[in-house]
């Protein structure tokens, strides 16, 4: 049972960090209270995890053949430590990349046969996540801009549109987070460990660990992240979160867990690009590239070390 602890830690970290991408700006700008944001996020993370979470289990859980209980423990612990380390460095960390890196590390040290099709699919999804979010955000914002030029509106309409829009996009974002990312938390346990639990129940356990992260630690991260991007107009934030969520849902249907942090960076760049490419923060996009390489490598190394120690 203790082998689930690193998985739960990973879920807690995901809840604490990644929900800041959903309600960070709204909470730090007092558009919505943290308590309300945390309740909405928790409920819809659980719903998303339960309804669609198992769709990504197969990709993560069957990257290699059969793994032992110690292997699974090493994978989860390696990923959790890598996530903690990259969060400390303020890099847009991807739990998905950390988990895959850990699986690869343990799989290689075991000398097991890798499923290359699954790995190529995963890597392609990583690369296309920020690109997809960029395109979706660009189209969404352009459409919205067009609609707003056609209607007569004042500040009351604008404010209420933002308020309602932020709540709707937040709900969608939380659902997408649960649906797509819970595979990182309990996917490997569900596929590899025979504990008599259904995939949906594993997804729910993963969802619960994410919500604990949301309730216990996400406020601090939300405020920090929110303040960092306050130069963004609320409408841009709303569109960015919506684009990120749509991206996550698309990848859930493909069956690959991807990074919310990298999706949001791509979406923010897409919204900025509507006003001209000079508004795109290429430095942030560059940091994603570093994350693609560094996260799986470091998670792989940590998982190998844990495996060797065990």
């Amino acid at each position: 049972m203790f082998r689930i602890i690193p998985g739960a830690l990973l879920g807690w970290g995901l809840g604490a960090n990644d929900t800041s991408n959903i309600f960070g700006t709204a909470v730090s700008n007092n558009i919505i209270k943290f308590t309300h944001a945390a309740i909405i996020t928790s409920v819809f993370v659980l719903i998303g995890s339960y309804l669609e979470g198992p769709k990504t289990f197969d990709t993560i859980g069957n990257l290699f053949g059969q793994l032992t209980k110690n292997d699974i423990f090493a994978i989860a612990l390696g990923a959790a430590l890598a996530v903690a380390f990259f969060t400390y460095l303020s890099l847009p960390i991807s739990t998905s990349q950390a988990v895959v890196g850990s699986i690869l590390g343990v799989g290689f040290i075991n000398g097991q046969q890798l499923d290359p099709y699954r790995l190529i699919k995963i890597v392609l999804c990583w690369i296309t996540t920020p690109i997809g979010a960029f395109i979706i955000a660009f189209i969404l914002y352009t459409l919205l801009e067009w609609v707003f030029t056609k209607i007569k509106y004042g500040i009351t309409f604008y404010n209420n549109f933002i308020k309602i829009g932020i709540i709707i996009s937040g709900i969608f974002g939380a659902y997408a987070l649960g649906a797509n990312n819970v595979g990182n938390i309990t996917g490997i346990y569900a596929v590899q460990m025979d504990m008599g639990l259904s995939p949906k129940l594993w997804a729910l356990i993963g969802g619960v660990s994410i919500t604990i992260g949301v309730i216990t630690y996400s406020k601090k991260v939300m405020v920090t992240v929110g303040k960092k991007i306050t130069q963004m107009v609320p409408l841009m934030t709303l569109v960015a979160v919506m684009a990120e969520s749509i991206t996550m849902i698309i990848y859930t249907q493909i069956g690959v867990p991807v990074s919310t942090s990298q999706a949001i960076v791509g979406a923010v760049a897409g919204v900025g690009a509507v006003k001209g490419f000079s508004n795109v923060n290429f430095k942030s996009l560059g940091r994603i590239g570093i994350g693609w390489i560094m996260t799986p490598i470091s998670a792989g190394i940590v998982s190998i070390l844990v495996k060797v120690i065990l």
Partner: protein, 214 residues
């Protein structure tokens, strides 16, 4: 209830701001009345000054009530500081009217008929600029696209006032009575400062619109 309309508290604040605008407008109206009374030598100009004092005091009370109401949760937080800033700027117009009235009551600068006509013209244009500001404020809630052109109209009126001020100051200093010239100069500057403050308020409206421009 239409989800895109204002809440109860916001509606109350909007009514209070309308009242505040009306009181400041009354201050401007009485500044004109004061100048007309001086020119036509009919009635006591200080009667208008008293009314300005009364209206300014009432405007101050409403401003404080608006502040309290906004701080208790009306409007989105990001809009609260902008609205308070706008109200402060509008209120400063009433303060300046009060200054102009007090200055005349205390120092009685001796303007010629021609100079007084130009001062009335300045006061009337300031009143017109304030009317446009009020219209722009209403459009802020109804139609964003109308606000900026109205702010530009205020800017145009302010420039016109500046030109009259320049001409008037030059004329005033042709006189040899330096002490009286200085009194007149300060009065003219004070009167023209009213339109500067109206322009400051319109700048705030422009900022509010630009920040939300899509």
């Amino acid at each position: 209830m239409n989800i895109f309309s204002s809440g109860k508290m916001e509606k109350e604040v909007k009514v209070m701001i309308q009242n505040h605008f009306n009181l400041v407008s009354d201050c401007l109206e009485n500044t004109i009345k004061m100048l007309v009374a001086i020119k036509e030598k009919k009635g006591n100009p200080t009667d208008s000054t008293f009314i300005i004092h009364k209206k300014e005091k009432e405007a101050d009370i409403i401003r404080r009530e608006i502040l309290k109401k906004i701080e208790t949760g009306a409007f989105m937080p990001s809009m609260r500081s902008e609205l308070l800033n706008l109200i402060e700027r509008v209120d400063s117009v009433a303060n300046k009217c009060e200054c102009v009235g007090d200055y005349y009551s205390l120092f009685r600068p001796d303007f010629s008929d021609n100079e007084l006509s130009q001062l009335i013209e300045i006061a009337e244009m300031s009143k017109e600029a304030f009317r446009v500001l009020h219209e722009a404020y209403n459009d802020l809630f109804d139609d964003f696209s109308l606000v900026i052109p109205l702010c530009q109209k205020i800017e145009y009126l302010e420039e016109k006032i500046d030109r009259i001020e320049w001409k008037l100051q030059t004329e005033v200093f042709k006189d040899k009575d330096i002490a009286m010239n200085i009194l007149k100069k300060d009065f003219i500057m004070s009167l023209c400062n009213i339109s500067d403050r109206i322009e400051d308020a319109s700048d705030m409206l422009e900022v509010m619109v630009v920040r939300r421009k899509i």
